[in-house]
Amino acid sequence: MTLIETVGLCQKYGEHDILRDVNLKVEPGETLALIGPTGAGKTTLLRLLNLLDIPASGRLYFDNADVSRASKARQEARRRMAFVLQKPVVFNSSVYDNVACGLKWRGVMGADLRTKVDPVLETVGLSVCRDRNARTLSGGETQRVAIARAIVLEPELLLLDEPTANLDPVSASKIEELIAGIIRQRQSTVIMATHDRSHGERLADRMAVLMNGELTQVGKSKDIFASPGSRDIAEFVGAENIIGGVIIASDDGLATIDAGGRLIEAISDYPDGEEVYACVRPENIILSISASHDSERNSFSGEIASVASMGPLCRIEVDCGFPLVALVTKRSAGELVLEKGKTVHAAFKATSVHVIRRQG
């Protein structure tokens, strides 16, 4: 059973293709994170899913009904969903009236209205601001009004566009907690666009990667992070080490990749002679002063090119003939005295390498 489905969905603004051939199915009760860089077309896709815009071509089905064009069916379907826009706009009225507006448009009045709105205000922690004009709220509070306004409708499909964008870290964390709670407690299906891949990873059952208007990969977040389908996806999901090479030998699923004279062993079924990228996540690289890691099939010595602090971690770039980035804890970096110019050994397992075929 599918709640919402797109078939060959395309959207254009003028002559520009914003979305191309998007095919997506979302099951009831599922949380899907739509990830991709800024400008990938996430908002455009959400607007089409919320039936705010008409697609240039393609079909859109909501609860098995074709809602691509027919206006009456679109209005009815739209009332079964709610969309929190990236830049929430609140109406020039009280917080209560803002949250109640969607229900009023559906004909809910009087005591019924209060019975529905007050608990939601409590959930989002805005009961104390109930009678305040929503325009006087902070950014985080405004975002909470926008979320409350949507969830009070008990939508079958909740669409969220970058719900933590433009917020300070504390507010963003509170909003994320709130969304996590909503996903846990309510049975609604959620589609959430985010350029913050870790945000999507924490909240979603599945991820869909949107790149340049095309849906390039859909799957479980751990699969996308471990096995990105293309170099662009690998870059976006944080596989900082993307090393170009050619498979020169393969034996029983273990391939040897020639990366400019350095040999990398990886698990791959690609044949000899295939041009590939070997992707290794920085957190899977182990740095040591001496080459002593037995289980790692790949070990390279090189000079540290740069050391950068990233909160509790250090990002170390090692020149091994190709640049290799590793993440180590600050404590380890201190113990190993990892400094620029020092020679270290970088090691990683063959199973930590994800091999992508080079296209074009």
Binding site: Q75, R79, A82, F91, R149
Partner: protein
């Protein structure tokens, strides 16, 4: 100076005693101004919304043209309506010249550019994401329009008040197509003009005070609404 002082005292007496002539002229002024305003608003507010919402070629030129007409001289509108309604004019057969109806038509035409232009400006001030927000929460087309209008309500109300002020205080149209006929088309501005010419300062001042009082009441009401 003494004459002015005497006139002022008499003017207050005329107002306090609810002088029949003063009240009749004031009442007629109000009815004609409110009717013309209502007529113009009925057309211009939705039309302003439509012009704001639609994208079409020449939209900017049209808005500039509307804004230019804010300051059109009342006598030019008076002349236009006169030509329209005079016996030789295209609507001469309706025999509307020198009637309150003619004044209503003239004043409605006079205030239409103000209502139209300021409605477009008021709606332009509303966040472009507001209609989408309303629709995304399930509002239909009519409910979305109401939301946008409600957001722009203070600016639209200011436009209506400004238009009312122009309608009730203008002389040109009222004289040219109303004729300033006693007991029929005489309104406050035309009466003030005539009575001042005749030297009856008391009546002019009484009517002037009433005009100011109406303006005061309307502005007071508008401020209360905005604060509330």
């Amino acid at each position: 100076m003494n004459e002015i002082w005497q006139g002022l005292i008499k003017a207050v007496e005329l107002i306090v005693s609810f002088d029949q002539e003063v009240m009749e002229i004031a009442g007629r002024s109000l009815v004609i101004a409110v009717t013309s305003l209502g007529l113009a608003a009925l057309v211009c507010l939705p039309l302003g919304g439509l012009i704001h919402a639609r994208q079409f070629r020449g939209k900017k030129t049209l808005v500039t043209l509307i804004q230019t007409l804010y300051s059109i001289p009342t006598v030019v509108i008076g002349l236009f309506v006169f030509l329209l309604l005079s016996r030789a004019g295209p609507l001469g057969g309706l025999n509307l010249l020198f009637t309150p109806t003619a004044m209503v038509i003239g004043q409605a035409l006079l205030v239409a550019p103000i209502l139209l232009g300021l409605t477009i400006s008021a709606l332009s001030g509303v966040d472009g994401l507001l209609p989408d927000t309303a629709r995304s929460l399930g509002a239909n087309g009519f409910q979305t329009s109401l939301v946008v209008l409600k957001e722009a309500r203070f600016a639209v109300m200011a436009a209506v008040v400004l238009a009312f002020g122009r309608a009730i205080s203008e002389v040109g149209v009222a004289i040219m197509v109303g004729g300033n006929i006693l007991g029929y088309t005489r309104v406050m501005p035309t009466a003030i003009s005539l009575e001042t010419g005749k030297g009856d300062l008391a009546l002019s001042m009484a009517l002037g005070m009433i005009l100011l009082f109406i303006a005061l009441i309307i502005n007071f009401g508008l401020n209360r609404i905005q604060q509330g």
